[in-house]
């Protein structure tokens, strides 16, 4: 048994043993779970991929004469203005009014972070305290008072894989799905995935300090659509999309290598986000969880050609199979391709490990852990149908 304080003391003295979630598998294989629990203090996990539910809170500073902005565009991309006078929220998937999905919120975030000037246009209603009705200026990340990345849903704990049984090519957020089961697209980094390494949320919650977009960030709690009730295997790892995280961090100290505006063909705009989460090896149970390997992590293949909320499945596969380049469906070998980057995830896990080893990054014990009992609900049925139900009563 170790405590956060003990681990942080070791980090301070430069004595903490820190390994990535890939490396810990090798150690567990060679020496067993007990050795992992005794020897390892922190395991670094990571993920990098398109995460649509992302965005940034901005405060522009007051204009002279002042304006209460009620409509806001950044490089022609609309931002939410229903806040105080010069506050806005720019969502990653917002689409340019002039360029369509070739440019959007995700790109503005990357451009801001890269130091590029951004055109801010705003309209407001004339009032006694805010006389101006229109403003059009250039802003930069430096000119903003605050730029706080606040992502309502990131770092999915596992994710469903996608295929397409129809006769036409589909363009989805899982990328191109070729006709007649032409490919299987999968997301998440498997054994490197943060929440897969802490399947029962024993160490991750409000306050957990993380690598976010190349800088420091924090977990705020459960993300939207958090679904701890997903079916789980004996090792407690969910068998499809499950838990999620809400994350925040100061954009000003991030690095554009790890936040990338993306245009997914015939689908829309998104933001690729790089996330790294340290997991303290407090006891043997956690040592076992972090040693989970690709071959013991399963996900479900869904048929995206069926336009229903509950889609038919083609069974389960593990990440070792998915990463091998092909999986079997109905007796045929079908090529697989990822849509999130294992290359970048490995890089992030290594960087976070380095930060901790060098004594630059300490662990923060969460104030409260992620909920384990919330249920995922669909949108209520159409109004006329609920009325019908009402009549029956």
């Amino acid at each position: 048994m170790k405590t956060y304080e003990e681990i942080n003391e070791k980090i301070k003295q430069g004595k903490a043993v820190v390994v990535t979630a890939d490396e810990v598998c090798e150690l567990a294989e060679a020496e067993g779970i007990k050795a992992v629990a005794e020897k390892v203090d922190v395991v670094t996990t990571a993920t990098f991929g398109p995460m649509c539910s992302s965005g940034v809170f901005l405060n522009f500073g007051h204009a002279d004469p002042p304006i209460k902005m009620s409509k806001i565009w950044l490089n022609n991309v609309p931002a939410y203005a229903g806040l105080a006078a010069v506050d806005a929220y720019l969502g990653a998937t917002a689409v340019s009014e002039t360029e369509g999905i070739q440019y959007g919120g995700g790109h503005v975030i990357e451009d801001l972070l890269s130091g590029k000037p951004i055109r801010l246009e705003a309209e407001g209603c004339k009032t006694d305290c805010y006389p101006a009705e229109r403003v059009s200026v250039q802003i930069t990340l430096d000119s903003l008072n605050q730029a706080i990345l606040l992502n309502p849903r990131n770092a999915y704990q596992n994710y469903a894989a996608a295929t397409n049984s129809s006769s036409r090519t589909l363009h989805t957020y899982m990328g191109t799905l070729l006709p007649r089961l032409g490919n299987v697209a999968y997301s998440t980094s498997g054994q490197l995935n943060p929440l897969i390494n802490d399947p029962e949320y024993r160490t991750i919650g409000l306050g957990t300090k993380i690598f976010l977009g190349g800088g420091i960030g924090y977990v705020l709690g459960e993300g939207t659509q958090h679904n701890p009730n997903q079916l789980r295997a004996a090792n407690k790892v969910p068998l499809s999309s499950a838990g999620t995280l809400m994350l925040m961090g100061d954009l000003k100290q991030m690095n554009p290598r790890y936040l990338r505006g993306a245009t997914i063909k015939k689908y829309g705009v998104s933001l690729m986000v790089g996330i790294g989460i340290p997991i303290p090896v407090l006891d043997e149970g956690i040592a076992e969880s972090v040693s989970v390997r690709d071959k013991d992590i399963y996900t479900t293949i869904y048929d995206y050609s069926v336009e229903k909320l509950s889609r038919p499945t083609y069974g389960r596969v593990n990440y070792q199979e998915l990463k091998s380049g092909s999986v079997q469906i109905n007796g045929n070998q079908v090529p697989t391709n990822p849509v999130s980057s294992l290359f970048m995830a490995k890089e992030i896990a290594a960087i976070l490990k380095d930060w901790i080893r060098r004594g630059e990054f300490f662990l923060v014990e969460p104030i409260c852990l992620l909920p384990r009992d919330t249920r995922l609900k669909p949108l209520p049925q159409k109004e006329d149908e609920s009325k019908k139900d009402g009549l029956k009563l």
């Binding site: 990098f48 991929g49 398109p50 990328g175 191109t176 799905l177 070729l178 490919n183 697209a185 990338r260 993306a262 245009t263 997914i264 063909k265 998104s270 690729m272 990463k323 380049g325 090529p335 391709n337 990822p338 849509v339 999130s340 980057s341 294992l342 290359f343 970048m344 490995k346």
Partner: protein
Amino acid sequence: MNTVTRRVVLTFPANLVEDTAIYHLIKDYDLVVNILRAKIIPKEIGRIVLELRGKIDNIKKGVSYLESKGIEVKPLAQDIYLNEDKCVSCGMCLAVCHQKALSLNKNTWKIEFNRDDCILCEQCVSVCPLKVIQVTF
């Protein structure tokens, strides 16, 4: 007359046999022919990138000959360029590259581009979410 080099892309229906055409280019038009790339998508199209070296008149005649055989000939004015510094190796382009010119290195998990296997179909260009694959002229 000087010897010149021209690079051309031949596109032909898959049922056309291109071997004899290339033989004639060498034999009848006195050209040095170097096959840079050759790919055939079964039942769809075939595509060959050739480097032709010889007298300019002979190259022109050779190209006319190919066209008379129903082969489309275009100068190779373009190439696929992957900006490796900007690529994040997400893997989305793999789904559309049937030639496997784009592939994942299973040790590093980095995307690699093998120009020799590329048939310039350009499918990957619009699929890449970061627009880091470009057609260069």
